[in-house]
Chain length 160, copies 2
DNA sequence: TAGTCAGTTCGGAAATAATAGAACCAAACA
DNA sequence: TGTTTGGTTCTATTATTTCCGAACTGACTA
């Protein structure tokens, strides 16, 4: 049964989700603030927000918005567009963020793998408990890297 | 060509890796200290370490070691064993840690999925740019959850 | 040329997290 | 009974992160 919901109610609920995103984003490598900005650009019905709108709606300082927007652009999570005769930048989420998400995870995994491989090479006894554990770990890391390749193949959306 | 390496050199290199683990572990949800403890228990040739040995080797305070060891045990990364007539606890890494690693990731993904699904439900226009982006995201989250199931099946080592 | 607009940059305050220090405690033991 | 061993717990201290305010900048505009 579909509830009838007013636009105002809808927006309130959306704003709640924005706050939740802020909370989630702390884990997942981001600040509360970057999470809320991502939520705003993603969850509201409005598709593009100016700098000022973001400041007003989220009630965060211009400086924080400025630095956070730049981080989010650097990490390819958002982008902005402009309109002729309008100085403002209109920010919006960049489509298909998940790919970049995986890329940073891959980097982490690769680093981890490297250290563990080095540690294994230094082991006196490769059949020791801890050496075997490292081997098991490396095996599963290999699994995940393969899965990532799979993923990139499957979701390989055309880059801009 | 295999290099000949003395035990001393080996241990030095292993200790270096322990420090690197400390650095890596910051990302990956842990403290530098917990990373170093994991490295110590995992990378050295010695398989079991007492509380005191950890304190001495890593030069961190008893209190920090105590709390960190307890965290690591809670999150199933390490365990200890005892020997009759010896009060000391002998700490060692718990085999097959990777599984628990995936479990925490899964929890995060599920939370993220939930918020995004809620946001999608609140969208006025499901064909809007941001709505489509959410849909794409959800699709890839589904992919990863399936991959995790796959992983657990493949690496399903017998629980203690 | 002065003034506004749309931000950026710099310094620091506030909050939070990580680590240490010291006192404490329970079990074993002399 | 007092003392040592093997830790724990509670309270600082220190470091780091996050965020803000205020001053600044460069492009445009009146």
């Amino acid at each position: 049964m579909q509830d009838i919901i007013t636009d105002k109610e809808r927006e309130e609920k959306q704003s709640e989700l924005v706050e939740i995103m802020g909370r989630i984003s702390c884990r997942g490598g981001g600040t509360a603030l970057s999470g809320r900005i991502l939520g705003l650009l993603s969850f509201l019905d409005q598709e593009e927000f100016t700098f000022e709108e973001i400041v007003d709606r989220l009630k965060i300082s211009k400086s924080s918005v400025s630095t956070t927007l730049n981080h989010l652009m650097e990490s390819d999570k958002i982008e902005y567009i402009t309109y002729p005769g309008d100085r403002k930048r209109y920010f919006r989420i960049k489509v298909n963020t998940p790919k970049t998400f995986i890329q940073s995870l891959r980097k982490y995994i690769e680093r981890f793998e490297k250290v563990n491989r080095a540690a294994l090479d230094l082991k006196k006894d490769r059949n020791s408990r801890s050496a075997k554990n490292i081997q098991a770990m490396l095996k599963s890391l290999t699994f995940w890297k393969a899965q990532m390749d799979e993923y990139e193949k499957e979701f390989n959306i055309d880059e801009l």
